[in-house]
């Protein structure tokens, strides 16, 4: 595995000046610093406060969903013609956010980007939690959620099977595969660190629990060799997967013939959007976390700058997508397409469109300036703005396309109800609650991979 040896050199890596880890660390100090967050520091008041708030919001979600199942989709604002609205908007938004983790772990690994090491662990965790939130919507937006299992190829008394030409079935397979693979990837990465925690935990419970999940890992060279191979294969598999998932999500729209949905640009433009929102979310989380837990040495300004660059690039791709959408609407000379675009810009939801342009196209241009890229607060604000923008993008695509389609007689409008909002905010609560638990009980940075980028990790000839 030659690339790993190169990572060994990774103090100052590539062209960038600032290091991916501050000098002066040893195998021991790295290990102690990260594992102490879990083992010795315990839960601060801040943690409790944050967790409590998130937990309450999560419960709001459960209440909303309970009432939904009791009364019906009617408690939301959905109607004919706008049969999808907040539900699918939130689904696509969450699944998009869920793309950064695997991307960082897999693609950056294959591209030998050693700086990924200190952020991939919680990026992957973020992915898992985001996918969990995303999964809620396709399930509960159906009129009869208790029958959602009909979408799985399970033999049943009616001997009816799923309809494999439907993009929703593709979704079921894509999202469940993505969730599974992301989980495996995350767990495999965790095993050696779990072993570390097992060996260093003072409490008996800690030793037992961590021990169980460490699977008896002992760092044998034979194991490491297969482990590396498996990890690399997973990365190789996850890379096309991560691209395919949002491609298929985009098929939900591209395969339909609704003006505003039926566009060939969608797959690449959705994937770019996913990475865009994913990295935005990583920044949104990484910046406060490294401050709170004093991890500036591990998640250095170098990391933030690289992610900012990725934001800028993907942001430009997304902007290109918007441009092409508008151009094609005009170029197609199709009256429905033309109207759709005009309606998007000047219709009743025009404000959403221009807000989205402001958030996703205008704001990230600030990242051209190194000063902005290298200063934490503006970066944090921009990442938040991009998150909002990406949500708006999905809302605009779904609602403005549906509310005025082919027959003017069927034109209508959509406005969210209190339940639409409580469900959406609730998922954010669930996401944060899970994240807090993760920070408290698992190493948020991959310890063994951090060891590999220390100078002394290199074997001298």
């Amino acid at each position: 595995m030659t690339e790993r040896r190169h990572e060994g050199h990774g103090v100052v890596d590539g062209a960038a000046s600032s290091p991916v880890i501050a000098p002066g660390y040893t195998f021991g100090s790295v290990t102690d610093k990260i594992s102490s967050i879990v083992l010795t520091r315990g839960a601060s008041h801040g943690w409790w406060l944050g967790f409590l708030v998130a937990f309450l919001l999560a419960n709001m979600l459960f209440v909303s969903l309970g009432y939904l199942v009791l009364k019906g989709i009617g408690i939301w604002g959905n109607n004919q013609p706008v049969a999808w609205a907040f539900d699918i908007t939130n689904f696509v938004w969450w699944i998009g956010i869920g793309h950064a983790g695997t991307l960082i772990s897999a693609i950056l690994l294959l591209l030998k980007q050693t700086w990924r090491t200190s952020i991939n662990r919680f990026a992957e965790a973020m992915t898992l939690f985001a996918v969990a939130c995303a999964g809620i919507f396709p399930l509960f937006h159906t009129g009869r959620p208790w029958l959602a299992y009909w979408m799985l190829p399970i033999p049943n008394t009616m001997s009816v099977w799923p309809q494999f030409r439907s993009p929703l079935i593709w979704d079921v397979f894509a999202v469940s595969t993505y969730a599974t693979v992301s989980l495996l990837f995350w767990f495999v990465g965790l095993v050696p660190d779990l072993a570390t925690l097992r060996d260093r935990s003072e409490s008996k419970i800690g030793r037992v629990v961590y021990g169980v999940f460490a699977l008896g890992w002992r760092g044998s060279a034979r194991h490491w060799q297969r482990y590396d191979m498996a990890y690399l294969l997973l990365a190789g598999l996850a890379t096309p997967l991560v691209v395919s998932v949002h491609t298929i999500v985009s098929f939900d729209f591209a395969v339909a013939q609704l003006p505003g949905w039926h566009a060939t640009i969608f797959p690449p433009y959705f994937v770019a959007g996913a990475i865009y929102s994913g990295f935005a979310m990583v920044l949104t989380l990484a910046i406060p976390i490294r401050a709170v837990y004093g991890l500036e040495d591990f998640i250095t300004s170098r990391h933030l700058q690289n992610m900012a660059k990725i934001l800028l690039v993907t942001g430009l791709i997304v902007a290109y997508g918007y441009t092409i959408e508008a151009f094609m609407a005009w170029y197609s000379a199709n009256t429905y397409e033309e109207f759709m675009m005009a309606n998007r810009m000047t219709g009743p939801y025009g404000f959403a469109y221009w807000l989205l342009i402001l958030c996703n196209v205008v704001t990230p241009q600030l990242l051209w300036f190194r000063r902005i890229r290298s200063s934490v607060v503006p970066l944090f604000v921009i990442s938040l703005i991009v998150n909002v923008g990406m949500w708006l993008e999905r809302f605009v695509i779904i609602v403005t396309s549906l509310h005025r389609d082919f027959l003017p007689s069927s034109w209508g409008r959509y406005a969210p109800t209190i339940w639409d909002i409580s469900t959406y905010v609730g998922t954010i609560g669930l996401f944060l609650a899970l994240l807090f638990l993760f920070l408290r009980f698992l190493p948020m940075i991959s310890i063994f991979e951090m060891r590999t980028i220390l100078p002394q990790a290199k074997v001298k000839e």
Partner: protein, 979 residues
Amino acid sequence: MKPTNAPEFWRTLAEHDGADLHELVGDEFASRLPAPPDAVERRSFLKLMGASMAMAGMAGCTRQPPEQIVPYVRQPEEIIPGRPLYYATAMTLGGRASGLLVESHEGRPTKVEGNPLHPASLGATDVFAQGAVLDLYDPDRMQTLTYLGDIRPWSAFLGAMRAIATSAQGAKGAGLRFLTESICSPTLAAQMDELLAHFPSAVWHQWDSAADLNAAAGARLAFGSDASIRYAVDRAAVVVCLDADLLSYGAGHLAYARQFATRRRPENAGIRLYAAESMPSSTGARADHRLPTRASQIEALARQLAADLGVAGVGRAEGLAQETHAWLRAVLNDLNAHRGSSLVVAGEGQPPVVHALAHAMNGALGNAGQTVFYADPIEAHPADQMQSMRDLTGAMNAGQVQALVIISGNPVYTAPADLKFADAMNKVAVRVHLSLHADETSALCHWQVPQAHFLESWSDARAFDGTASIVQPLIAPLYGGRSAHELLAAFSDRPEATAYAVVRQFWQKRHGGADFENFWRQSVHDGVIPDSAMAPRAVSVRTAVFAAAAQVPASGLDVSFRNDPTIYDGRFANNAWLQELPKPLTHLTWDNAVLVSPAMLSRLGGSATPAMTGGERGQIKAPIVEVTYRGRSIRGAMFPVAGHPDQAMTLHLGYGRTRVGHVGTDRGFNANAIRTSDAWSFGTGATVVLTGETFSLACTQYHQLMEGRDLIHVVDRGTMDDRRSTIDELPWMFPAVEYTGYKWGMAIDLNACTGCNACVISCQAENNIPVVGKAEVLRGREMHWLRVDTYHAGPAENPDTYFQPVPCMHCENAPCEIVCPVGATVHSHEGLNDMVYNRCVGTRYCSNNSPYKVRRFNYFLYQDWETPSLQLQRNPDVTVRSRGVMEKCTYCVQRINEAKIDAEKEDRPVRDGEIQTACQSVCPTEAIVFGDIGDPNSRVSKLKGESRDYALLHDLNTKPRTTYLATISDRHPDLDKSK
């Protein structure tokens, strides 16, 4: 009669003076019927009603009337699809009957069809006949006979009436008054005669707010005697409507619409329609040349036309607009070119003199006996009802009325405001009301007698041409209601006589002879009594009546009053189907509005804007205005209607009901409050001001512009033969699916559709489609499988208007199917786009991908699963959908399968026309044709063969099985807008 020698109970009654009684009865009722919270919460209330129904002991059981009723077994071939059991009967509205065939499942009437043998139906029905079934099962109907709110047996009532009769005997019935609606039932009329013979001094008053009062008065004015009028539209090449909604309002409109559509077909001679009207109507929409004209200006216009046509004694009118003159020139030109084959029709909304002018013009044009026929009046005893009402109120105020027996109708609500009928009525000692609902009038009556629905009782009735029908019941009275016959019998010497006996005996007298039994069976079976139509008679117009010059209307706003298109004069206010049925052109539901031209609305500084919730297909925020006319004022939401003349307001009646039931109470505003006897149809000089408040109107299609899209095809009659079919094969990457056997398809002729909405409600009745209530319509969730889209082209002042019924298109390449993850919507081998309810998980993706947006989703549990009476109405052949599933038009697959089973039994293919979808069977103009497009000789194939045939959104290559036939315009060269 003097109180001194009054018997005991007079005094007891006298103790209740009107006011007390009002309170007493009022409170009593208030306690029994709590006000409805909101339409969508109706179910919760209906649960309660369900319980009471169960106590009434009728839950689920089927109740055949005791007498022998004759099932409609020998169906005319290929007109009505084979159904469980059909009975011929007739429904009366405004003193005119139209024949029905009512489908009965195990003794439950479930669906109304038209009676093809009946001249006023020809197999079609209007929306009211469709709604009748729901009225029958309405749990809000008056359920018990009460006296001052206490439940009384029928015998007690009989006793009381006998007492009145005997005591009135002395004074030959002086002080005894009867108030009925227009009576077109020969038997009932005979009973009245008999009764009046008994009590020479008793008086029979008539008041029917649904009747064509102006038309009758117009005939009296023109001919000096009562006469009934009927038209032969199919013999007219040119028809001029003066504020007349010939095609969708009034007696015989179904027949006229059929004749109009038939003659307008491309292969037929054609018929050019001119309409000068105030409120845009179906007729105006179908007119080749519509002239928006204030109701108050029509008379001047009519006089001008009459003068030009050389009607004696008519002076030319002054101050007509320039375009009016241009329009009139074209009309004149056409009329002169078609003397004897033209027709001038005056509308019910116009005063008698305009009707007289129309008769005079038809006379001058030699149309009498050609396209218009006059005959004896349909009622046995026609009356000037307005005068009759004035007399009655006068008498009541003068204290000359001891006992008032009101036989159906709701005069307290419908009487002209200036008569103050309610106050006068309170001066009467004994008041009896026979009524379906405990309404505003019942509330003021001592005796409240539940009336038997026409589907529950025997009677007879005459149609617009005099044809008589026997009205036979399909079910015994659900709430022990009584018919008018039985009530009147109470005053005769045979108080216990049943309606059946009375009716049968009447016809036995008429038609003696040994073969009466056959005659009876035949008449009841067919639903028409042979050769009972009135013979035409010659009339002559007294032109002297035109001497009075046209009163040039006082400047100021017109306010005109019209019966509502769906709940009429309010008698259908408690019918949820009719309340939720979008009104033609405005597409408003659940409310009436102050209808004005868009220009007038903006001039007032108001605007009607779609709300973000529901929007154009749900919620319109309209300004509340205060309309004042002669010191009386009402408040209502103002709504713009394209093509409505400026300086005029149209108010629909029937709303603002205070006592009717939980569907109809307190909806909209009561226009009767400013409607006076001297400005019955319209008045000039009204004022209107914005109140600053807004109101949410439930409107299902506010956006009526086509946005330059290719939705409606119009061909010119002159050049239509040059048209090439627009349907061609588009490239397709897959091999086309082979359909063997039947290939079901539908053709909808836009040239025939009058937008009457009968198809919509028929579909609702046939397919158990739930009512969602106003709150849900506001959210854009109404459930109708079939909708009649309305589109405008041209200026908002006077646009061309098109109707387009849109059911599921049953696309062969159905976009909805490809996206369903569970295969809940798939194709049958006969090309049906099937919806499998029990497989649907409700992703709603199909609706998103349906370019026609014909799919409807059960966002809540809309179906009422509790109310027993409503369960009786359901069609057992159609699944009752539950919450969370998608639904849509099935081409009435249950009817298809029924026919296929019959055909298989007889080992033959299904005959063309044997299957009629619910929308098709009730369509007055046969605009909808369904059949096997694989059979080149089927009607639908032939229609699809026409060059007018086109597919909606053809370029999406959905290959819809439902296609449209372009509408034909037939403009007068001088007025042709395109030139």
